[in-house]
C-alpha cells in the first residue's frame, strides 16, 4: 500500500516537473498581459512567423497619445491598430507588444509573428515593443518600465528570446527619433541594452 502511495507521489512529481520544463503556456512567473480579445483587437491577417529564440528587441514609442488607465489604454491600443491595419494597410498592429502608462502590457502580434515595426532587415529578427505615448520630453512612469522589463524576462522564460538577447533603441537601427530622448536614456541603462 505504502509502496503504491510512494509511486503515485513520484508520478505526480515527475509529471509536474516535465510539464513545467516543456510547457509553452504562460508560466506562473510571467506577468499578466492584456490579450487581443480583451482590448478589442481586430483579427490579425498576418502569417509570417518569427524564428525563435529571437536575438533582438527594438524599443520604440508610438509618438501618439499616452493613456494612464486600462480603459484609456484599451482605446489607444485599438487606435494604434486601426491606424496600422486600416490606414497603413498592414496585416495587423505593427508591434509585437504595446506598453501603456497604466502599467499593463498589451498583446500585439505576440512572440511568434513577425512585426512591421523596424524595416525589412530588423522585423524578421526582432521583437518590437512600443510604449504608447511620446517620450521626447517625459519618461514613462515606473509601472510602465516595470511592465516592459517583466515582459522581457517572460520572453526569456518562454524561450521566445535568447537568454543573451540584446535591446536596441528604435533610433539605433533606423533613422527616427523613436523611442524619444527621455525613454532612450532610460533603456540605455537596461542590462541587455547594446548599442
Amino acid at each position: 500500500m505504502s509502496h503504491t502511495c510512494a509511486l503515485l507521489a513520484w508520478a505526480l512529481l515527475a509529471l509536474i516537473g516535465l510539464e513545467a520544463a516543456q510547457s509553452k503556456e504562460t508560466p506562473s512567473c510571467c506577468g499578466p498581459i492584456v490579450s487581443r480579445s480583451e482590448w478589442g483587437a481586430l483579427p490579425s491577417e498576418c502569417s509570417q512567423r518569427l524564428s525563435q529564440p529571437v536575438r533582438y528587441v527594438v524599443i520604440s514609442h508610438t509618438a501618439g497619445s499616452n493613456c494612464d488607465t486600462p480603459a484609456l489604454c484599451r482605446q489607444q491600443a485599438q487606435n494604434v491598430q486601426h491606424y496600422h491595419a486600416r490606414t497603413r494597410g498592414w496585416c495587423d498592429v505593427a508591434y509585437n507588444f504595446l506598453i501603456g502608462e497604466d502599467g499593463l502590457v498589451y498583446e500585439g502580434r505576440g512572440w511568434n509573428i513577425k512585426g512591421d515595426h523596424t524595416g525589412p532587415t530588423w522585423n524578421p529578427i526582432s521583437i518590437g515593443i512600443t510604449f504608447m505615448g511620446n517620450y521626447m520630453e517625459r519618461v514613462p512612469p515606473p509601472r510602465a518600465i516595470r511592465a516592459a522589463q517583466s515582459l522581457l524576462a517572460c520572453g526569456v522564460t518562454l524561450g521566445a528570446l535568447r537568454p543573451d538577447y540584446e535591446i536596441k533603441g528604435h533610433r539605433d537601427v533606423q533613422q527616427t527619433l523613436s523611442p524619444g530622448d527621455q525613454l532612450y536614456a532610460v533603456i540605455q541603462n537596461w542590462p541587455h541594452y547594446r548599442e
Binding site: 509511486l7 516537473g17 516535465l18 533582438y56 532587415t121 543573451d164 540584446e166
Partner: protein
C-alpha cells in the same frame, strides 16, 4: 531517479546558453550579420581575423560610406554595408580548412586608433568535405547544435544510443580541427539529451500504468 530528472532539466537549460561555433564544410559560405548603430552610418567597417599573440588582421574594409548601400569584395571576402538598415553582412565564400579561426566585425579606424567591436567574435570551424557517412561527419554536424529544443536533433529517429558513442580517438581524423575535450563534451551532451528523455519517458509511462493498475486493483479488490 529523481536526481536524474533534475540533472536532465538543469543540463537542458545550461545547453540553451552554450556558445555557438560556426561549423561549415569546405566550399561552403559563411554569412554573418553584424548590426551597426545608426551613429556609425558614415564610418568604415571591416572584417578582421584574430590570431593568438598577433595584431588583428584586416581582411576587407568598406570604402568611405555615403550612408547608402554598398558592397565590396576582396578575394573570398565580401562586405555588404547597409547603413540605412543598420546591418553589415559579411560573407566568406569557398571556405577552406585554413580559414578556421576567430573573426570579428568592427568599425574601422586607421591605426593606432582602436576599432570598435560589432556583434560578437565569430569562431569558425571549417571541416574537410567527407562524402561518406561516417561517424566523423555526424560528430562535426553535432557541433552546430541549435540552442532550442534538444529533441529536434535529427538523430533521435533511431532511438538507439550505442551507435553514437564511439571512442573519441577512433573518430577524430587528422583533418578535422575538433579537439578532444569538445568531443567528450558533445558525447556527454548526446547522452544527456537522448538517453535521459527516453529513459524518463519510459519510466513515467510505466509509473502511470502502475498507478492506474493499483487504483483499479483497489477498487475491484474491495
Amino acid at each position: 531517479m529523481m536526481l536524474w530528472g533534475l540533472l536532465w532539466m538543469l543540463f537542458v537549460s545550461g545547453l540553451q546558453a552554450a556558445e555557438e561555433k560556426c561549423v561549415l564544410a569546405e566550399g561552403e559560405t559563411l554569412t554573418v550579420n553584424c548590426p551597426v548603430n545608426q551613429k556609425y552610418k558614415y564610418s568604415k567597417k571591416a572584417w578582421q581575423r584574430l590570431r593568438d599573440g598577433e595584431q588583428p588582421q584586416t581582411l576587407v574594409v568598406t570604402e568611405s560610406s555615403q550612408g547608402t548601400l554598398s558592397q565590396i569584395q576582396v578575394g573570398r571576402y565580401i562586405l555588404r554595408d547597409d547603413p540605412q538598415e543598420s546591418m553589415l553582412q559579411v560573407r566568406m565564400i569557398n571556405l577552406q580548412v585554413e580559414d578556421s579561426g576567430l573573426y570579428r566585425c568592427v568599425i574601422y579606424y586607421p591605426p593606432p586608433k582602436e576599432p570598435i567591436l560589432l556583434f560578437h567574435p565569430v569562431p569558425l570551424v571549417v571541416t574537410t568535405d567527407t562524402s561518406d557517412k561516417n561517424p566523423t561527419t555526424k560528430l562535426t554536424q553535432i557541433l552546430t547544435l541549435p540552442t532550442t529544443n534538444i529533441p529536434s536533433i535529427p538523430y533521435t529517429s533511431s532511438r538507439t544510443v550505442t551507435p553514437f558513442l564511439p571512442t573519441p580517438t577512433a573518430v577524430i581524423s587528422p583533418n578535422t580541427t575538433v579537439n578532444l575535450t569538445k568531443v567528450t563534451d558533445t558525447i556527454r551532451l548526446l547522452v544527456f539529451s537522448i538517453v535521459i528523455p527516453v529513459a524518463c519517458g519510459i519510466f513515467i509511462k510505466s509509473l502511470i500504468f502502475t498507478v492506474l493498475f493499483a487504483v483499479t486493483q483497489r477498487s475491484f479488490g474491495r
